[in-house]
Amino acid sequence: MQATVEPRINGQRYAWIAYAMGIACMAALFITGLALGKPQLTVMASSMAVLLGAVWASTAASARKRSTGAIVRQDTGIVVAREAGEAQPSAQAARELLNEASRLESAARSGSGWPHIAMLLGLGAITSLSMLAFWFVGRFDESLVALPLIAMLIWLGIFMVFMMVFGRSTKRGFGRRWMTFMMIWAGLWVIGILLASTLLTGQLWFAIVIATAITINSVIGAWLEASA
C-alpha cells in the first residue's frame, strides 16, 4: 500500500509548487500591469490567478477525498465477502452490511464531483472577469476586444475537456442542479452582453453587477455540488 501512496503524495507536492509558482507569476504580472498602467495586463493576470486558485482548491479537495476513499477500499469487500451466501444474515452481519453500504456509497460519491466543481468555479471566474475585461477594453482600446474573448474561450475549452475526460461519475441529483445553475448562468451572460453592447455601453456599475451575479451563482453551484 505504501508503494502506491507515496508517488501520489510526491505528485501532489509538485502540483502545489506549480500552482504556487503560477499564482506568484500572475501576482508579479498584475503589479507590473499596475506600474505600467496597462489594464489588459492586470485583467489577464488577475483572471489567471483566480482560475489557478480555483483549480488548486478543487484539486486539493479531490485529493483529500480520494485518499479517504483509498482507506475505505482496503477493508471493503472483506466483510461483504464474509457474508456471501448467507441467506439469513444475523443482526451483526446486517449491521456490517449496512456499514459497508454506507461507506461505499459515500466513497463513490466523494470522489465524483471535482471536474464539475472545477467547471462551475472556472466558468464563473472566466465569464465574470471577462465582463470586467470587456469594460476595460471598451474604455481604453476597443480593437483589443478579441483578446479577452479568445482567452475566455480557450479556458472554457480547457475546463470542458477536463470535465468530459475526468468526470467519470456524477453525484446523485447532479443533472437537476447542473441544469439549474447553467440556465441561470446563461441568462446572466446573455443579459450582460446584450445590455452592455446596446443600452448600457460603458457602464461600469452594470459590468460589476453582472460579474457579481455570475460569481455568486457559480460559487453557490460549486458549493452545493461539493456538499452533495
Binding site: G69, T76, Q92, A94, A101, S102, E105, A108, R168, T170
Partner: protein, 111 residues
C-alpha cells in the same frame, strides 16, 4: 366481521436475492450515491476484475436493477452504470430489511 391481520413476514424475506451476492451488493451500494458512474470507477472501488464486474453488471441489468449505457469519450469506449427506478426501490427495500434485522436483535437484547 373484520378480516384477520396478516402475519407480519420476517424481514429476511424482504431481502432481494439479486443483492445477496457480495459483488452485486457492493456494486449497487457504490452506484446508489451517484446519478451515473463509469465502469472503471466502480471496478476500482470494488477492487474486482473487469470480467467479474461485467458479469455481475449484466445480471443486474437483466434483473432490471441497473441500467448500462455505452458511449465514447474521444475515441475511447466507456461504459456507465446507473440505478433504474425499480433498482433504487429494490435497494431501499433491501436496506430497510437489513435495518429491521439489525434493530430487531438489538431490541431483543434490551428486552
Amino acid at each position: 366481521m373484520s378480516a384477520p391481520e396478516p402475519h407480519e413476514e420476517h424481514p429476511r424475506l424482504k431481502l432481494s436475492d439479486q443483492l445477496a451476492h457480495p459483488v452485486r451488493f457492493s456494486m449497487v451500494a457504490a452506484i446508489a450515491g451517484t446519478d451515473e458512474s463509469e465502469f472503471g470507477v466502480i471496478r476500482d472501488h470494488l477492487q474486482v476484475s473487469d470480467s467479474v464486474l461485467s458479469r455481475q453488471a449484466s445480471q443486474l441489468e437483466e434483473a432490471g436493477i441497473v441500467k448500462i449505457r455505452k458511449g465514447f469519450v474521444g475515441k475511447r469506449p466507456r461504459t456507465w452504470f446507473s440505478l433504474t427506478p425499480k433498482g433504487r426501490d429494490v435497494w431501499e427495500q433491501h436496506l430497510a430489511a437489513l435495518r429491521e434485522i439489525a434493530n430487531g436483535e438489538a431490541t431483543a437484547d434490551r428486552l
